[in-house]
């Protein structure tokens, strides 16, 4: 049902040429289907425009500089102090959105360089090479604008995620993630994606979006060149690989960005026209935010599989408030929903003005691929693998007894627990030394009660980060109730590195 062809791409293009095509934005299409039904909408509408404008980290640009005289085979290169990821042949560069300027870490990166070049600004270029018989030069510096580049085109491995997780944070501290700043104790949430405006949500079976599909990319024409990395259509998480000419793009739709303590990225505006070839496509393009669900995920857990706290619709997400653990919290969209809407409107205008014609894909995108986790040939370790028994004391013990225990057990950290074994605080041998020097007698006076802890299933990298961030040398290992299971120390971690 619904598969009978109503019109072809060629017929639609003919109508566009004559100015007769009926083009609706995704928002308008949903309203029309609601008001008049799928059959009427399928008969009336030729094209539905979709769009999204979000942070897309797997983005970058290919640049060809032309040859210097004498010529250089570039070994390493920098634009505005951001290192180029991969020099290809002598003067081909690929600049990735997430590479950062080492002197401005987390504030300025490849995404910003791409935006500045698109804006027509000057960028500082430098490169070094090892010198060869044919390319003798070993270093070069210059100031460049996009007009000085032979090629400058965007090449994005993964764009246009069909939907994405809603992120929140169950830890007792603020965390900074690629999903933005997340407050402690599930204090807020964030989501990404344009929901019902997203191109892939409107053509989830890839009937019309495939290799060769002409699209809106960054305010210019671009093309789908394949499925994106981690393409996962089975789980309604498809992605696209795309390219487009940066020289034609507009900074309105390509913006460098930074996620605090996470890194730099690129906001990419992408829109796709969906030709309504049959009634089935009219139905698919009527999908609404209510129908598109995603998981609320606790990003406080630093593991690949993070616990889900339930499902939520894009309708709820776009309302600005969702419920987590029976509490209402505010949720930030990280994608620009205003920008996505603007893209659907701009693309509609282009088609109405016969400035954009549709293409039929030359090859379909795969609809059955799945995403597998990384093969980990070497064992990676978790906190539980290096946890030692903790040396414990009770709050009311005299200092002398605790000092003796430190010597007997040859440890530096005493974990203070209550009678049921729950964590109350921590004391170090240094605290004891200082207490003795100051004439103190009671342990309770010197306990550090605000203790940074770990759980057994945390990766040791995460434990090492906590040690470094807080400038401490041990972490009590506790369960969800706060019961002490053991301790890990910086010595234990150093031993691992030594092997």
């Amino acid at each position: 049902m619904g598969a009978k062809t109503l019109r072809t791409v060629d017929e639609i293009n003919e109508k566009i040429r004559k100015g007769d095509a009926i083009v609706l934005t995704a928002t308008e299409m949903k309203k029309l289907v609601k008001d008049k039904g799928v059959t009427v909408a399928a008969k009336e509408v030729d094209v539905v425009t979709t769009g999204t404008l979000g942070a897309m980290c797997s983005s970058g640009a290919v640049i060809n500089l032309g040859h210097a005289d004498p010529p250089i085979k570039i070994q390493r290169a920098w634009l505005n102090n951001v290192e180029i990821l991969h020099p290809g042949a002598a003067v081909d560069l690929f600049i990735g959105a997430t590479v950062m300027d080492e002197s401005r870490l987390f504030e300025y990166g490849g995404g910003h360089v791409i935006e500045e070049l698109i804006r027509g600004k000057d960028v500082e270029f430098k490169a070094i090479g090892y010198g060869t018989d044919c390319y003798p030069r070993t270093q070069v510096e210059s100031t460049l604008t996009k007009n000085n580049l032979n090629q400058f085109y965007m090449l994005n491995f993964r764009n246009c995620y069909q939907r994405y997780n809603c992120a929140t944070n169950g830890r007792d501290e603020i965390i900074y993630t690629y999903m933005g700043k997340l407050l402690p104790h599930f204090g807020n949430a964030s989501f990404s994606g344009a929901g019902e405006l997203n191109p892939l949500c409107n053509d989830p079976d890839y009937e019309t979006i495939g290799i060769g599909t002409r699209i809106f990319l960054g305010g210019a024409h671009g093309y789908v060149i394949g499925e994106g990395t981690q393409h996962d259509p089975h789980n309604a998480s498809g992605t696209l690989m795309v390219r487009g000419d940066c020289k034609e793009m507009s900074p309105e739709f390509i913006r460098g960005a930074t996620f605090t303590q996470y890194g730099t990225t690129l906001y990419v505006g992408l829109g796709i026209p969906i030709p309504i070839l049959n009634e089935g496509l009219a139905k698919k393009t009527s999908v609404t935010d209510e129908d598109i669900l995603t998981n609320i995920i606790d990003y406080g857990v630093p593991r690949r599989s993070r616990p889900s706290l339930g499902k939520v619709s894009y309708k709820a997400l776009k309302s600005g408030k969702i419920t987590i653990n029976d509490r209402e919290v505010k949720v930030s969209p990280l994608s620009s929903l205003n920008g996505a809407k603007m893209i659907t409107e701009t693309l509609k205008r282009w088609i109405d003005d016969a400035a954009f014609f549709l293409t039929a894909p030359v090859e379909q995108l795969p609809v059955t691929t799945v995403v597998n986790p990384m093969r980990q040939a070497r064992e990676i370790l978790f906190v539980e693998d290096i946890t030692q028994p903790a040396t414990v004391s009770y709050e009311d013990e005299p200092l002398e007894a605790v000092a003796k225990r430190i010597i007997e057990r040859s440890v530096n950290h005493i974990v203070i627990v209550d009678t049921s074994g729950h964590l109350l605080g921590i004391v170090t041998s240094w605290d004891i030394t200082r207490a003795v020097a100051n004439g103190r007698k009671q342990l309770s006076e010197i306990i550090t009660r605000k203790v940074v802890t770990v759980t057994p299933n945390e990766p040791i990298d995460s434990a090492a980060r906590k040690l470094a961030q807080h400038n401490i040398s041990a972490l009590p290992v506790i369960d969800a109730t706060g019961k002490v299971l053991g301790i890990i120390t910086s010595e234990d971690l150093s031993r691992l590195i030594k092997g």
């Binding site: 942070a55 933005g180 964030s190 949720v331 990280l334 809407k341």
Partner: protein, 126 residues
Amino acid sequence: MTKILVKFSDKQVGRPMASEIILDLQVPLNILSANVTPKGGEILVDVPSHEINRVVEAFRKRDVTVAIQKGIDVDKDRCINCGACYSLCPVDAISFTEDYSVIFDGERCISCGLCVNSCPRRAIKI
């Protein structure tokens, strides 16, 4: 409402300055935040806008420095209306229009700064 930041030295720490002014002028003042130590301190005070001149004058008479706070300052050329800041605001000073443009209410803002580093475009300043 208008927000003022009042800074005072160790000499005024013991003095119930805000209460005096409330009683003297019969103006309701709301202390939004306070950071006071024996060495001095600062308080952020919400003042009804039509009383701002009288209140500022009353504070200045008491030998403190008073600065009128503008709250957050958003560079709309940099802003892309992503709304990353929205969920961080504890006083609902950041909201969306119907077409998902982000709007900032300087009057509501208490200059807490939570949103500043959440902005991927670094468009927000206090």
